[in-house]
Amino acid sequence: MAGELESCKPLSGLLSGLAQDAFYGHPGITEELLRSQLYPDVPIEEFRPFQAKMRGILKSIASADMDFNQLEAFLTAQTKKQGGITSDQAAVISKFWKSHKTKIRESLMNQSRWDSGLRGLSWRVDGKSQSRHSAEIHTPVAIMELEIGKSGQMGCLRGSQETKPKQTWKQFLDVSPLC
């Protein structure tokens, strides 16, 4: 049975399943589902500590956002540990992290965003010839529609900026050395 667990083919699938559950919040990925799909000949008492070990390794790597040097050092240490992983398994984990690192990191960042996000932005500039509130003729107006919401929620904010658009825009544009 130990030979089954050491086989590398299903390990990639297991890591995907664990990532779905631990990072992407995909519901319904149970221990039994993973076992029956990937390691059908392994009894649950053996599978349970094995998947827990793999899950722990994956979480450590993601939590530290390991670069490739750190990853190699970490996995090498895991192969030398008592009850650790084989070097073949280390290779599979390394390959998995390299291809999924960006997506997992993005998912973790999203989990840490609790404020509303900007879901969409559209705008229009009107050249008004007359305004109810002001006698000025030909006052340009910028109207913006912002879709603000948390994931699963949507709210719209429409705002217009009249008469002093240049001040606000200038203040905003002076702010942006990042771009």
Binding site: R105, M109, S112, D115, G117, L121, V125, G159, S160, P165
Partner: protein, 68 residues
């Protein structure tokens, strides 16, 4: 109508789900008045790429407003 625009550039260092987060973000607080004059605050967060797009849109608006 837009009354005020406040911003903050933050760096999320660590969280319970990721110890090494290192995630920069821009948080914006808008103060908007409706037709009756009632003022509401709206806040939201943007990633840096989102903010760069936001900024580009504003630049476009500013350029067009100059010509109108």
């Amino acid at each position: 109508q837009l009354i005020d625009f406040q911003w903050k550039l933050g760096m999320a260092v660590s969280s319970d789900s990721c110890r090494s987060l290192k995630y920069p973000y821009v948080a914006v607080m808008l103060k908007v008045a409706d037709h009756s004059g009632q003022v509401k605050n709206k806040s939201f967060e943007m990633t840096i790429p989102q903010f760069q797009n936001f900024y580009r849109q504003f630049k476009e608006i500013a350029a067009i407003i100059e010509t109108v």
